[in-house]
């Protein structure tokens, strides 16, 4: 117990230093033109001499001398790269460019880009099979895995994955490919989330199984031990069906791992948190070469969790019942928490397992940990702005869990990678099942005020300030400067490219027909449509909202307010479920089920194909 408390103190101490070092607002205004590297993922060359750093902020792969950290090369890639991997022979480096929908191929001998291949929607990670014939690309928006010919880049097929397919890991023998996904699969309204680990036969490019992950939403990296007997995935276990306001009861998230494989004997969810402190946003996973240790980056807690595998397995075997929410469990197998930089993400073990590299995304550094001592022995600083801008500080605030009671969670828990989480939440302390709200995308928010589904928060400062602190975080730790930075960051989030628009920007015939329905003022019977029942009246302007509240007939007896804020329409195709409480599983259901009296737009005169056209148009927004 003493050791555990001491380790907590190490993390808390590191966080305290961060807070003390907070620079003033005026000192950083001039740094806007230079980009932060924002290292996200790491790789080592087969001989261990070169460290590849995926820099999401600068759209490049930087090649460092692995010993000294000296930058050897910077290779520009596509926009917002999110994942990369080496070919089995180390000759090629593949990079997924999530906003370009491409894969960049880099020759590791020359560090030259040799090809750029088309992938699916928002490619997020990539793995080549053992034979070097096939490339697998996980597509976050496509919810699938694109299978490419590794020689030509030609698409062979796509495999259906979980929603928000994002991370891949090949088994050591190359016989299985494991894929995770960051948004939960669809489930009936107000039931626990469901996720999966998609298991693929990479030789035949077929999904052979789906490991069910009950109650999980948000699965990140996955790793296999060298002997293939142990698999580990980092994940979030949200408690979205009970009021979030009861954070003091632990009703927000549990940070867990799913472990599986012959060494485990079953699929088990293992908590990382402690009774009085949480290790938020588990993201990266690595397993020591001898399998003795599991390392997990905690992106919201700025530390790395170290697990003794033998102890963990002993605990699992001694506890056949579920214990994912028993926060006393972790003391039996977590042996260290190592403080690192801000928002640690990708991690990488050296071939001998002696050194552990951590990509600290939000302070442009790489921590090097001596795995025998479980401490940071070196910090590699990446080229970039020396000062921290207001926007950067806001991003750090967004991604940290330190402001919440017991460090339980941060903004990014529900807005994964600054998006959404696909969940409905019971937010308010008004009883179970009251005022259920669907989580919304937070891109390009300027001009979409007010916030909250009842329109109760006129500005982001109100939305993110007292409300967040009191009702979500159960703390009052934001000062005005922190809040101002956070607002700056959130307002800066751009809208991602819309994959449903044509390259020319013209609407397809179906989309154009849908646009006509969207903007019509007269129904098919020739009757004028009242202003409030015209799609384009409430969903007006470039963002698709007139920023007013209406009763569209979708209220539930459990709602506290009859009128609802008109939600913006940007990237609406991506953000199922729909309606304020997430009761519509698809765009279609908004009108096929939840608009019986035409209160949510005049739509009941439309035929099925006309409704399809309307939806095709909405998907371009």
């Amino acid at each position: 117990m003493r050791r555990r408390l001491a380790l907590v103190a190490i993390c808390a101490g590191a966080l305290g230093l961060v807070a003390l070092g907070h620079p003033g607002v005026t000192a950083i205004a001039a740094q806007q033109d230079e980009q932060y590297a924002s290292p996200l993922e790491l790789l080592l060359s087969p001989d261990g001499s070169r460290l590849y750093v995926l820099c999401q902020g600068t759209d490049e792969v930087r090649v460092l001398d692995a010993a000294s950290g000296r930058e050897l090369q910077a290779v520009p890639v596509g926009h917002v790269p999110r994942g990369f991997s080496l070919s089995p022979d180390g000759a090629r480096l593949f990079v997924t460019n999530s906003w370009d929908d491409t894969v960049t191929v880099i020759d590791t001998k020359t560090d030259a880009v040799t090809a750029t291949w088309k992938a699916g929607f928002e490619p997020s990670s990539v793995v080549e099979d053992r034979a070097g014939k096939t490339l697998y690309v996980a597509d976050r928006i496509g919810n699938d895995i694109t299978v490419l010919d590794a020689a030509s880049g030609d698409e062979k097929e796509t495999l259906e994955a979980g929603r928000g397919a994002s991370y891949l890991a090949l088994s050591p023998d190359g016989s299985r490919l494991y894929a995770t996904h960051v948004y939960p699969n669809a489930v009936p309204h107000r039931t626990p989330p469901q996720s999966e680990i998609t298991i693929i036969d990479p030789v035949h490019a077929r999904v052979v199984d789906r490991m069910k992950l009950p109650a999980i939403a948000g699965v990140f990296h996955i790793a296999l031990s060298r002997d293939g007997r142990l698999g580990v995935a980092a994940e979030l276990h949200p408690k979205n069906l009970v009021p979030l306001a009861h954070v003091e009861h632990g009703w927000a998230f549990v940070d867990t791992l799913t472990v599986f494989g012959p060494a485990v004997g079953r699929t088990v969810e293992v908590p990382l948190d402690e009774l009085d402190h949480y290790y938020a946003m588990p993201f990266g996973v690595a397993i020591a070469p001898d399998g003795s240790r599991i390392y997990v980056t905690n992106g919201g807690s700025d530390c790395v969790t170290v697990i003794d595998t033998r102890r963990m397995l002993a605990y699992i075997h001694a506890h056949p019942q579920l214990f994912a929410e028993d926060l006393s469990a972790s003391s039996h197998y977590v042996v260290a928490h190592i403080a690192v930089g801000k928002n640690p993400r990708g991690l990488l073990l050296s071939r001998d397992g002696r050194r552990l590299f951590i990509a600290n995304r939000l302070d442009d550094s790489i921590s090097v940990i001596d795995t025998h001592a479980d401490r940071v022995t070196q910090t590699l600083r990446l080229r970039g702005p020396k000062k921290v801008s207001a926007l950067r500080r806001g991003e750090q605030t967004f991604y940290t869990a330190k402001y919440a009671f017991q460090g339980q969670f941060g903004c990014s828990n529900c807005h994964i990678d600054s998006t959404f989480d696909g969940l409905l939440w019971d937010l308010e302390p008004d009883g179970f099942g009251k005022d259920i709200v669907d989580n919304r995308l937070i891109e390009d928010l300027r001009g979409t005020e007010p916030f909250k589904w009842n329109g109760g928060n006129p500005t982001l400062a109100v939305e993110c300030g007292p409300r967040t602190e009191k009702y979500f975080f159960r703390s009052q730790s934001f000062n005005d400067l922190i809040l101002a930075d956070l607002v700056v960051y959130i307002r800066s989030l751009p809208s991602r490219p819309n994959r449903f628009r044509t390259a020319s920007g013209d609407l397809t015939p179906a989309q154009e027909r849908g646009r006509v329905f969207f903007t019509r003022t007269v129904d098919k019977l020739g009757q004028p449509i009242p202003e409030g029942n015209q799609c384009a009246y409430c969903h007006s302007g470039p963002k698709g909202t007139n920023q007013k509240s209406f009763d569209v007939g979708t209220g539930k007896p459990t709602d506290n307010s009859g009128k609802l804020d008109t939600p913006q329409l940007m990237s609406i195709a991506l953000t199922a479920p729909y309606l304020h409480d997430g009761s519509a599983k698809s765009l279609e259901e908004i009108w096929t089920i939840y608009n019986p009296h035409d209160q949510h737009g005049r739509t009941n005169d439309l035929t099925k194909d006309e409704l399809n056209d309307l939806i095709e148009y909405l998907r371009t927004r």
């Binding site: 495999l159 096929t592 194909d609």
Partner: protein
């Protein structure tokens, strides 16, 4: 009449002249498979099978089997009470509790690229992928109607035949496109069957003939019975045999069409029709048709399973009078010979057909049958 057809028939007739032991090199009933079929006397060699029948007694969820699909070693059976799959000799059943859109599975299609199975049901369309089932209905998706009679996969598109028009799902973009009386020459919207290829998609529209979509031009063609509503066949081989089409199979640039009043073969220029009175077809009431290539096809009728090799016919069924296993072969001259057999499909009412190498699987109204190829 189609000249090529006449030539083919004459050649076939010559090959089976009395006194000649015919060993047809084309006796393989399935493209790519070579069967060492042995002719018996003057009887053309036709594929023979030992039928193994599956019912609820063997693990099927229901005896009424609407559809069958083979994917390598896996065999899928769409029944009146769930979707069953046989793997390693054992049947597993998916039901609505697993996410299946409806218990009655009317049609099945395989996405050969990734192994996903698509099931048309009486309550929507389901995708079975790696054990996970996602269902699309007229309420939660752009599917035109929940009553799905047919499904066919080509590339990234899923083509669907429903009781209220046809539709296409683009699995990459999620876009649904609907085809009905407003944007095609479809007179009726009761679409029973679909067969998709890279160049063309064919829909069998119950009461509205055959619809053809040219995918390159996006244009539609409609093929009708030149006799119109007249049930008598006045203009033989001048067009589609009947407007009430039930099934379609497009292969090798030839389309095979089943109706409740005979079947048709169309090569893009000429039609050839099959009726019981002048072919080996056991019944004009045909539920399903599967073309193997330009010349060969299988027919699922209400009076048995039939195979046409381009010249000769074979029928496999329990005999209509005794119920005993029966196989008959009809040669080009119209001579019918009964072949002694010990087994037959589970029932005469045939609803689905698929192939597993040289073997055949048959969905019937009273069980699923596996025809193990003998010679």
């Amino acid at each position: 009449m189609n000249k090529a057809w006449i030539v083919g028939a004459l050649m076939a007739a010559a090959a089976s002249l009395p006194g000649q032991a015919t060993a047809h090199p084309a006796s393989a009933h399935r493209a790519g498979a070579v069967h060492a079929a042995i002719a018996t006397g003057n009887v053309p060699a036709m594929p023979r099978f030992r039928f193994e029948n599956f019912t609820t007694a063997n693990g099927l969820p229901d005896d009424h089997v609407f559809s069958v699909l083979v994917d390598g070693d896996r065999v899928w059976a769409g029944t009146n009470n769930g979707l069953a799959v046989q793997e390693n000799g054992k049947w597993k059943t998916y039901t609505t509790a697993d996410g299946l859109a409806h218990r009655a599975v009317t049609s099945l299609a395989l996405d050969k690229r990734n192994g996903d199975v698509w099931a048309g049901t009486m309550g929507g369309l389901s995708r079975i992928s790696g054990g996970r089932i996602d269902s699309f209905t007229q309420l939660n998706s752009g599917l035109s109607n929940d009553v799905v009679y047919g499904v066919s996969i080509e590339g990234e598109n899923v083509w669907v035949a429903t009781a209220a028009g046809a539709c296409r799902l683009n699995t990459r973009t999620g876009e649904w496109s609907l085809y009905n009386e407003r944007n095609t020459p479809m007179n009726e919207i009761w679409v029973y069957g679909v067969s998709a290829a890279p160049d063309k998609v064919y829909y069998a529209v119950w009461g509205s003939g055959l619809l053809e979509l040219n995918e390159k031009t996006g244009t539609w063609n409609k093929y009708d019975d030149p006799d119109g509503e007249n049930e008598a066949v006045v203009l033989r081989d001048q067009g589609l045999i009947h407007e009430i089409t039930t099934s379609v199979s497009y292969v090798d640039s030839v389309v095979w069409v089943a109706t409740y009043f005979g079947d048709s073969h169309y090569d893009g220029r000429n039609w050839h029709n099959f009726l019981t009175k002048d072919s080996g077809l056991p019944s004009n009431f045909t539920n399903t048709i599967k073309g193997l290539d330009r010349n060969r096809a299988w027919f699922g009728t209400d009076k048995g399973l039939a195979y046409f090799d381009g010249t000769n016919w074979a029928v496999y069924r329990p005999a209509l009078d005794t119920g005993k296993p029966q196989m008959t072969v009809r040669d080009a001259a119209g001579h019918v010979t009964e072949i002694p057999v010990a087994t037959a499909p589970a029932h005469n009412y045939i609803l689905g057909i698929d192939f597993q190498g040289a073997d055949i699987w048959v969905a019937t109204a009273k069980g699923l049958s596996h025809g193990v190829y003998q010679h």
